[in-house]
């Protein structure tokens, strides 16, 4: 490729799912220990085309179609990783990951610990996650809190093409297991140029997507889209919201969130997962522990309902949209401490 053509290629805006493909291709090209496998990822390029063309370029020895068996996909990754390979396993949908839980939780997450460092599991488990694409039942799961609860795992969620590329490369390079959840609702929602330079983004660090002084909005994955839209609307009313994407949900970078609260003193956490025991609860609890005195209002949660994700006719009712985020923001902004409680009498 000529230099000019290469530059043009680098500046061609790509989607989030194309950024995933680009990161996988970079990793396969530059590290012979990387192998990619899953159902339908070879000739078919994955049901979302995240592995499009990879088998053709890197061969069926490194980009492998597996039999249809999710427990197996999760389990063989453990065995491969203990021998020094860097497996990148794709689950077609997060809703199909549950047969593999035993291996992810009981083995991948704790291999390093239980062998006192003798063996480890540098695995990336990839899964498209979240609702909003009119998929059948069990295709719209958003159970990141399940995994974030597990000691030894990392849970990473990108929310833009550039972060998908940089964070996936970081996940593949990471010496420990990473659950990499791809927000499929925004797989093709936006394009941006993502230079294929192999540069990883830091894990365990939150990204400040928009600066503001009146309110902190926290969101990850596809919900970042509505959250940024809500921030724009708030700005048109003169309210400057800071928007933070934690990106790595476990371990959580609470300090960036606290830093933001020092400016804003009010906070809304947005996620499409069910509310009870969701990560909004963890974030609110940590804010309360570390920054109770900073708060001018209780932390608001704008989340999915504690229901089963409905079939698609009602999924947009379930998913927190701009209106619900604005209502949450309004509740945080309008909150006034009961003056009767001041002074104690």
């Amino acid at each position: 490729m000529s230099e000019q053509a290469q530059t043009a290629q680098e500046h061609r805006p790509i989607t989030l799912v194309e950024a995933v493909t680009q990161a996988l291709a970079y990793a396969l090209k530059n590290d012979p220990e990387v192998v990619v496998f899953g159902q339908d990822i070879g000739a078919n390029g994955g049901v979302f085309r995240a592995t499009d063309g990879l088998q053709k370029t890197f061969g069926a020895d490194r980009v492998l179609d597996t039999p249809l068996a999710e427990t197996m996909i999760a389990g063989i990754a453990v065995g491969m990783a203990t021998q020094g390979l860097k497996p990148v396993a794709e689950f077609q949908f997060m809703g199909f990951i549950y047969p593999g839980l035993d291996h992810i939780l009981s083995h991948a997450a704790r291999m390093r610990n239980r062998t006192r460092g003798r063996l480890s599991c540098p695995i990336v488990y990839r899964a498209p996650y979240g609702g909003g694409i009119h998929a059948p039942e069990h295709h719209s799961e958003s159970t990141e809190a399940l995994f974030a609860h597990i000691p030894g795992l990392r849970v990473v969620v990108p929310s833009s093409p550039a972060r998908a590329y940089g964070l996936l490369l970081a996940a593949i390079a990471d010496p420990d297991p990473v659950l990499f959840l791809e927000p499929k609702r925004i797989y093709r929602a936006a394009r941006q140029p993502v230079p294929d330079n192999g540069e990883a983004l830091p894990l365990d660090s939150a990204f400040v997507l928009r600066e503001g002084t009146d309110l902190t909005l926290i969101a990850w994955g596809a919900s970042v889209k509505e959250t940024l839209a809500a921030a724009d609307l708030l700005a048109s009313h003169g309210i400057e919201a800071e928007v933070i994407d934690p990106a790595t949900l476990k371990p959580l970078d609470i300090h960036s969130i606290i830093d933001s609260l020092e400016k804003t003193r009010r906070c809304v956490v947005v996620h499409e997962a069910a509310r009870f025991g969701g990560l909004g609860a963890e974030i609110a609890a940590q804010i309360q522990e570390y920054a109770f005195d900073l708060l001018d209002a209780p932390v608001q949660r704008v989340t999915g309902y504690d229901t089963v994700m409905p079939y698609y006719q009602l999924e947009n009712t379930y998913l927190p949209g701009v209106e619900r985020i604005l209502a949450g923001a309004r509740a945080a902004l309008d909150y006034v401490r009961d003056p009767g409680r001041e002074g104690g009498q």
């Binding site: 197996m72 065995g79 491969m80 047969p99 006192r116």
Partner: protein
């Protein structure tokens, strides 16, 4: 017109292998590898495994060890399997494998440390790449399939000799999906892999007959398109022959195989179990009649290869080995409490510093008091 009807397929053959019968008499000429030296070595290793089990159970009874799964009665399977592996092969064991561990080079003090509640017991100083003891049922079979893939991948990249992954399990594990998924993948990807199923007749309290309607465990391999053999698991020569043969096949690129080793669990499931609740004393007494150590001992004595004097010498030597291991185990310094964080991730993430410091300070406080 004649309609096809459902029928139970029973026309397949499962071969059964035995060299030494229940009385320890050869039923066919022994293979070349079964030299007098090898046979007496196996007798020693089986007795060592039994001694470790015996001490471990006693240590548990006196509160010095946690729950322990004895291998009493199936020493031939572990020793023969461990013996058939080369150092570079990768062993992926379940939890009832003290014999195989000894043969692989895992130290007795490491085995005791593990069941004594110290994770350092799984940090074998040798072999470094074998998988740790696996407690959930059958998951190790899929890990072994992944290991076998890695071994094949390396072989293709480097042209070094093909190494083999070996998964062991009890027969109860063959009820699980992981077992079928591992066999299926191993078959279709032609992985260098051997499944060794210790069919000791009891999955805790559930008998083999209540576990599966199949006549043999070996025939389960038919569904995955991989070869299988049933062996007398109390005949160490038969187990060794079968595992060696399967290893050789796998090593030469012919793919996976399954060995079903018929044996009997002479002990409780673990020290937390009481097998008298679910199986008869009569059945147990009968099973003792064909246990593996007595069988090999009888054979060797009939060949004038073993004697009371040799047995006494060996028992003295093994007692010393055991005492030395116990001393090493007991003289280990305890792990610091903060070790629970040390290997959680390659590098402790910043989000954990506060909890780490809290634990460290609590420990420092406890030491001052």
């Amino acid at each position: 017109m004649h309609k096809p009807r459902l029928q139970l397929q029973t026309s397949f053959d499962i071969a059964h292998l035995q060299f030494l019968d229940k009385q320890g008499q050869a039923t066919q000429p022994l293979p070349d590898f079964a030299t007098p030296d090898w046979l007496t070595y196996c007798l020693r290793q089986m007795q060592l495994a039994r001694m470790v089990d015996d001490r471990a159970v006693k240590l548990q009874r006196t509160g010095r060890l946690g729950t322990y799964p004895s291998t009493l009665g199936q020493e031939a399977i572990g020793i023969a399997t461990g013996n058939a592996l080369m150092a570079e092969d990768i062993y992926c064991p379940y939890y009832r494998e003290t014999g195989a561990f000894l043969e692989r080079g895992v130290l007795i003090e490491e085995i005791l440390a593990n069941w004594g509640g110290d994770e350092r017991g799984q940090n074998f100083q040798h072999p470094r790449k074998d998988l740790p003891i696996c407690v959930p049922i059958a998951t190790q079979m899929l890990h072994a399939a992944g290991v076998a893939f890695a071994l094949k991948y390396r072989h293709q990249q480097s042209n070094q000799p093909l190494q083999v992954a070996v998964a062991s399990s009890g027969e109860g594990a063959t009820s699980k999906g992981d077992f079928y998924e591992a066999m299926n993948l191993a078959g279709v990807w032609k992985l260098p892999m051997v499944f060794v199923v210790n069919n000791n007749q009891w999955a805790i309290s559930v008998s083999r007959i209540a576990q599966t309607a199949t006549q043999t465990i070996a025939q389960k391999a038919i569904a995955a398109g991989i070869p299988a053999l049933q062996v007398d698991g109390n005949d160490i020569v038969a187990v060794a022959w079968a595992v060696r043969d399967a290893m050789q096949r796998a090593r030469s690129g012919e793919g996976p195989a399954l060995i079903e080793a018929l044996s009997y669990r002479l002990c409780d499931h673990t020290t937390a179990d009481d097998a008298s609740r679910y199986r008869s004393a009569q059945e147990l007494e009968q099973a003792w009649q064909w246990e593996p150590i007595k069988r090999l001992d009888s054979y060797l004595r009939a060949q004038d290869l073993w004697s009371d004097a040799k047995q006494q010498d060996m028992e003295r030597e093994l007692a010393q080995v055991m005492e030395s291991a116990l001393n090493n185990w007991e003289s280990r310094t305890p792990e610091p409490a903060t070790a629970i964080f040390d290997h959680l991730y390659a590098q402790l993430p910043a989000a954990f510093y506060e909890q780490y410091d809290q634990l460290r300070d609590e420990q420092a406080g406890a030491e001052r008091e």
